[in-house]
Amino acid sequence: MATEVSATHAAHTSTGYDSRKLFMWTFLGSDCLFFGALIATYILYRGRSLTGPYPKDVFNIPYTSVSTFVLLMSSLTMVLTLSAIQRGDMRAFRVWTLATALLGCVFLGGQAFEFTDFVAKGLRPSTNLFGSSFFVLTGTHGTHVGIGVIMLLSLFGFSLTGRIRQESAIYVEMIGLYWHFVDIVWIVIFTLVYLTRV
């Protein structure tokens, strides 16, 4: 009886979960600790800047709310992306992948504009505790979004060459998990940094 046994075939796992998905969940778990430490630093230093500008001097809540909405919508398009590839609808997959990446870029563009606006108002990373903790926290988050955008654009490119097919849905699911995680982190940051202020 000749059977095909592969060391890397994802068919059978002890937990029943695909190893690649388990990898992404575990990585996101460790990323929680990462953002947790950064957010804790921000909260520690909240209200303790010796000089301004202070949050109330620079924040534009309506503006950042729009930005937040854009990122939240990108999670919706991410879900549609995954749904499309799971059904094998590659055209819809490409549309929604591009849409998600585009929304991510809009978010990043909004962040970039916000950063330059803050600098113009006299807030730099070196200015005070607020500047240091704000720029490092949101900058790290933005870097995560940027990496996500690169992954999405790679998915798009690979689908054009046929390397990403319906069978590759697991990879889209992994990137989707990452993308939703980054979105949830933003919700936490938006709440703690922008909405609940000292």
């Binding site: 990585f27 505790l129 490092v136």
Partner: protein, 618 residues
């Protein structure tokens, strides 16, 4: 390209030197990667050991002027940093690599290329960190790099830049490896290999992996804050703008305490493997032993501020952490009692692995006891920043972790290399190391309680510390001699034929069911596990005539196509991007042109990653 793993008769041409080098550069085989980790960590062990010997030469006599104070700062910082991140942790990972797939009955880890990536990142990160010596900018503010001495105003030069860049890169290696082994253990166990049937070493790897991927991100953040303070004048540790230097300590020790359990839990696992085999009795209290390991992992998160008792956190905080510190001694003590009970009434086989395991128990008890005394806050006010602390952590890390690792090397050497290390030379190694170790670090207890502070490059003669310092230096060179004896053992053994049997020690776990060294695919048939210590279980069934049906652990070749993951060039390429980025970032602070090096690193990283994603894997 897939390898068709079937034995074939006849002769075949010897591989050329280039083919061999290529094979090692592109390997994704966990057993080869284990050898890479083993050899590389010993190279760093020699370097970090030489740093220690120079320290001991400087301190052997009062008012010595062998080296300057500045160089001394670099020496003790690099000795500690290298021993922790480039020696003890990677030696542990060498054993993770060798044993985890074999002990759970798998053919490799869950992500073989990521496994290779972890190694290459370790190698390049270690080279970057160590190269700081060549740039005359070795880290020099202690391995713990307390703020705000580490700010640019107080430590100009690139010493700390090498520190945070090096550790950040090394952290990535360990993080990826931890997730890899965690997924492997959860997902790739052979049929019947339930979690509570896993060998204790693999159990400890599981706990250690969780500690790694939860604690390393906290260090990563701390290093990022330091990087921004130094490179971009942020204020995280700048008191002038309201920053709190103590934030560094909190984040550092939130990582740092789980880190010491990361170093010791694999050693605990090795001891739990060696003692039953050489006492010819099962591990006493297996469920308690493995669950107390898990408890240590969890409780290790609650004790971090015991490194900060003298910083001024206040009586309430100090009391709380003193309590949690006392509590964490309990699961560790439980393990010690279970190990003693394992030996009790056993048929002791006095072989070298057992010597090192017994040495471990004795030395770790001493180190653990001094650790418990640190937990008494007023006592710690006397002990902190003295050699008494240095005694403690060397007893648990050297007398503990390193002795266990050496025991593991003697125990599993035949499995990895197909040869048994020499018993007589092994015993010489053990006794020289045990005596040298105690001569080196025993006196530190006295010196510390007599008031000798840490991190001083010399001391006046009228302190009365000269005698014990000289004894310690003699001990240090005795350790060095014992290491040479070990290398002699390795050399002598390499001249012998590789004819070790599959099961030289009458072992209990799955790695002893396959040849020494194992074939590339490990198991011809994936075993079916029916009990803890599956090999002993099967041997006993056979001895008492209860074996029914086919042997579930039999390794006659099955009529199946075994498909092993193909080799890959991309892990080493991807890894190469990181040191390029690292050097680029360190030196762009001097000349903007170095951003090109940083950018080149990013490009190499992406090229490696894209090649990786697009290469065939079947």
């Amino acid at each position: 390209m897939a390898t068709i793993a079937q034995p074939y008769a006849g002769t075949y041409p010897r591989p050329s030197r280039w083919e061999v080098i290529w094979e090692w550069i592109t390997t994704v085989d966990h057993k080869k990667i284990a050898k890479l980790y083993l050899v590389t960590s010993f190279v760093f062990f020699i370097l970090a050991g030489i740093e220690a010997l120079i320290i001991r030469l400087q301190l052997a006599r009062p008012d010595e002027r062998l080296i300057s104070a500045e160089t001394y700062n670099e020496l003790f910082t690099m000795h500690g940093t290298m021993m922790i991140f480039l020696v003890v942790m990677p030696l542990g990972v060498a054993f993770f690599n060798l044993l985890v797939p074999l002990q759970i009955g798998a053919r490799d880890v869950a992500f073989p290329r990521l496994n290779a990536l972890s190694y290459w990142i370790y190698l390049f990160g270690g080279i970057l960190l160590t190269s700081s010596w060549l740039f005359e900018a070795a880290p020099n503010d202690g391995w713990f790099a307390y703020a705000n001495l580490t700010e640019k105003t107080f430590t100009p030069g690139h010493n700390l830049d090498f520190y945070y860049v090096g550790l950040q890169i090394l952290g990535i290696s360990s993080l990826i490896g931890a997730i890899n082994f965690f997924v492997t253990i959860l997902n790739m166990r052979a049929p019947g290999m339930r979690i509570m049937r896993m060998p204790p070493f693999t159990w400890m790897v599981m706990v250690t992996s969780v500690l790694l991927f939860t604690a390393l991100p906290v260090l990563a953040v701390d290093l990022i804050l330091l990087m921004f303070d130094r490179a971009y004048a942020t204020n995280f540790f700048n008191p002038a703008k309201g920053g709190e230097p103590i934030l560094w300590q909190h984040l550092f020790w939130l990582f740092g305490h789980p880190e010491v359990y990361i170093m010791i839990l694999p050693a605990f696992g090795i001891i739990s493997e060696i003692l039953p085999t050489f006492a010819r009795k099962p591990l006493f209290g297996y469920p308690v032993v493995v669950l107390s390991g898990a408890a240590i992992g969890v409780m290790g998160w609650g004790v971090w501020a015991h490194h900060m008792f003298t910083v001024g956190l206040g009586a309430a905080a100090n009391s709380a952490f003193a309590t949690t510190t006392m509590l964490i001694a309990v699961p560790t003590g439980i393990k010690i009692f279970n190990w003693i009970a394992t030996l009790w009434g056993g048929d002791l086989q006095m072989k070298t692995p057992l010597y090192f395991a017994l040495g471990f128990i004795a030395m770790f008890i001493i180190g653990g006891l001094s650790g418990v005394t640190h937990g008494i806050v007023p006592a710690d006010y006397e002990q902190h920043m003295t050699y008494y602390i240095v005694a403690h952590f060397h007893y648990v890390l050297f007398g503990g972790a390193l002795f266990a690792l050496f025991g593991g090397i003697y125990y599993w050497y035949p499995k990895l290399f197909g040869r048994m290390l020499d018993e007589t030379i092994g015993k010489w190694h053990f006794w020289l190391m045990l005596i040298g170790f105690n001569l080196t670090f025993g006196p530190f207890h006295m010196l510390g309680l007599d008031g000798m502070p840490r991190r001083i490059y010399t001391y006046a003669a009228n302190n009365g510390w000269g005698f014990w310092n000289m004894v310690s230096t003699i001990g240090a060179f005795t350790i060095a001699l014992s290491i040479l004896v070990f290398f002699w053992n390795v050399y002598v053994t390499s001249r012998k034929p590789a004819d070790a049997p599959a099961d030289p020690w009458d072992g209990r776990s799955l790695e002893w069911t396959i040849p020494s060294p194992p074939p590339e695919y490990n198991f011809a048939r994936i075993p079916v596990v029916h009990a803890r210590d599956p090999l002993w279980h099967q041997k006993l069934l056979r001895r008492y005539g209860r074996a029914t049906g086919n042997d579930p652990l039999a390794q006659e070749p099955a009529d199946e196509h075994i498909h092993m993951p193909p080799r890959s060039f991309y892990p080493i390429i991807t890894a190469l991007g990181l040191p390029l980025m690292g050097y680029g970032f360190i030196y762009q602070q001097d000349h903007k042109a170095f951003w090109a090096l940083f950018a080149a690193g990013i490009i190499v990283l992406f090229l490696g990653a894209f090649g990786w994603a697009t290469e065939p894997t079947e």
